[in-house]
Symmetry: C2
């Protein structure tokens, strides 16, 4: 099931405030979805995420299909039950991961042959098989199987990917039958405006309950990405949720919202944490740096999260230097909270008809 209501439209940009209701509850949009690739948002428990008011996470079909396998998760009662997560889940389709992680892949109109990045084993995924896997995982939103062309690529490569993505979306829709799971289409087209147009037109004709913008943030310039977002905004029905895949940084979240995007996901907050980097209101800091050795202030003095309320930069730096796992846990918590809070502030600003003001104030202080 899926219901989407737009509560407020910003007057000066395409930003909008909405409510997305799925099988496991209602989500205020725009929303950032933390990534739980392997059925866990790295280092964190569901309770940690509930504390931050996270209503939806993303999990990766490619990873779960390979390990532990969709059948095991099905036996556990589905992904929610397996990982003890009571709010919503979106599963991607594995398309992007096959192209970015796996080896020896061969693409045909039928599907994709590839070798597992874990053990080299051979696999063949078709739109029908991906639907079987995603329905067994049982997320609240499933994504159609797509072909994500690399950047840079030729027009012909991007065109082939668009055509296949359309054919595959049709086949996905044909076999998808879980009523408690919404199926989103994915728009491809790389950085070619007419291909984006064609992809959006094809998918909108199929009438999906939501649309993802795929194949961005893969190496193209910010200008190219923003241009594609501006374009896509005009191509999608206003009353359907739009999801920008794999984005992003605080500044890209703001830029995306400004261009009408309702949903985002990205591994950055937890990945940066594992590299000892933390978001702050003034930009990222490398907590491991010697400059913080005797800094007894919190990661971010403007932050009210559990970590910033209890621990100093000096302590977390010590944990990092000593190789202590708690450092990664604390930084992951803070970074996910930081983005959740950013989205909350964005929603509040739209509600209060001050999105442009918030955007300007944020960008003024935040060092990219």
């Amino acid at each position: 099931m899926l219901q989407f209501k737009i509560l407020k439209q910003d007057a000066n940009s395409s930003a909008r405030l909405g409510q997305l209701t799925l099988t496991h509850g209602t989500i205020d949009t725009p929303v950032f979805m933390p990534v739980g690739t392997q059925a866990t948002v790295k280092t964190l428990t569901p309770e940690d995420l509930y504390e931050m008011d996270i209503k939806i996470i993303l999990s990766n079909t490619y990873h779960l299909y390979l390990r532990p396998g969709e059948n095991l998760i099905d036996k556990a009662g589905g992904l929610h039950s397996f990982m003890n997560w009571q709010n919503n889940i979106l599963t991607d389709s594995g398309g992007f991961q096959i192209f970015s992680l796996s080896k020896l892949r061969k693409i045909t109109d039928e599907g994709v042959y590839f070798n597992s990045h874990i053990d080299g084993s051979k696999h063949f995924l078709t739109p029908e098989k991906v639907m079987e896997v995603e329905q067994k995982l049982g997320a609240d939103i499933a994504m159609c199987f797509d072909e994500c062309a690399p950047y840079p690529c030729t027009y012909e490569e991007a065109e082939t990917a668009v055509k296949r993505t359309t054919q595959w979306a049709r086949r996905c829709k044909e076999v998808h039958c879980r009523h408690d799971q919404a199926l989103f289409g994915i728009i491809q087209g790389n950085v070619f405006p007419d291909l984006r147009q064609r992809s959006a037109k094809d998918l909108v004709e199929m009438d999906f309950p939501g649309y993802a913008i795929g194949g961005l943030s893969v190496g193209e310039s910010k200008e190219e990405m923003y241009h594609m977002l501006d374009l896509t905004h005009t191509l999608l029905p206003l009353d359907k949720p739009r999801y920008l895949m794999g984005v992003g940084t605080p500044e890209d979240l703001l830029e995306g919202v400004r261009r009408g995007v309702d949903m985002f996901d990205c591994v950055l907050p937890t990945r940066l944490a594992r590299h000892g980097t933390a978001y702050t209101r003034r930009g990222k800091i490398t907590v491991r740096n010697a400059a913080f050795a005797e800094d007894f202030s919190p990661i971010d003095t403007d932050c009210n999260c559990y970590v910033c309320n209890h621990y100093s930069r000096a302590y977390i730096r010590h944990l990092l230097k000593a190789g202590e796992i708690l450092a990664l846990r604390l930084l992951s918590y803070h970074n996910v909270y930081f983005l959740a809070k950013l989205m909350e502030n964005i929603r509040k600003a739209i509600q209060e008809e001050d999105f442009s003001g918030y955007y300007n104030r944020f960008m003024e202080y935040y060092q990219i």
Copy 2:
């Protein structure tokens, strides 16, 4: 400060129920102290430990002296403040770690020359310096600097270590001046009864508020260890707390309590967790084993901890196989809870005059 009250003495063994009051609150004894070597009980937050009703943890002077250094922790307001822990802390003296971890050590009556296991840097620790470090760390209980002879060793080696431990204890007591910190003496003597006797006699004459039994669980047989515990029990004043250092396993906790021990510490629960092993009421299990791949029951059906209430063996096994940090966090939580609960059950049994019954029931089911 330190107050110790014995509330109940078991009729059939030396087990006793007590209350130990330190600067940061009262502890029911017998008690197991989780180890936070580097100012963190690995993977866990203080809140995790409060949830399990942990009233005291141990931290390692050797590690903290080397990194981040006692002066940094002093500047942070002491170890409690640095690591955000509001209950009690005991710091060991580093004696054991110097002998087990560091390299190129040379022992004189004055102190110990050694090279850091982290960067090879040269250090010289004396009883006076160790007292300075421990007082800066500011734990509720500090341990005297001792020499821990290896196992096996000659009588002469053990005798030298006992003599030095006595001299060093005197020097520690001489310079120790924090009134909010209790200083314990450490009894050495390896597995030589007359040396244990001499060491205990020397230290008891100095009238410490508590005594540790050191140099056990270092390679000797269980029989030798239990024999030394039986002997030491007769040598120490009944009204002072006794702490068996570096022990241990569930069965050794029971054997120690039976022999009059009030306090224990051991890295095992968190170390086993990091190797994918969990305690259960019927013995340890290796969660990574294929046998648990589709086992949707909790780690321990008899356990009521957060982990056993929410996660299956199959899920935790998946996390372990996938290299996810959450696995280590969940297993650490369960294992520490398991020992905390074991001690709670032991205290309840002594209170209800059923310690022998509890001992027998536990040993009947628990596969060592």
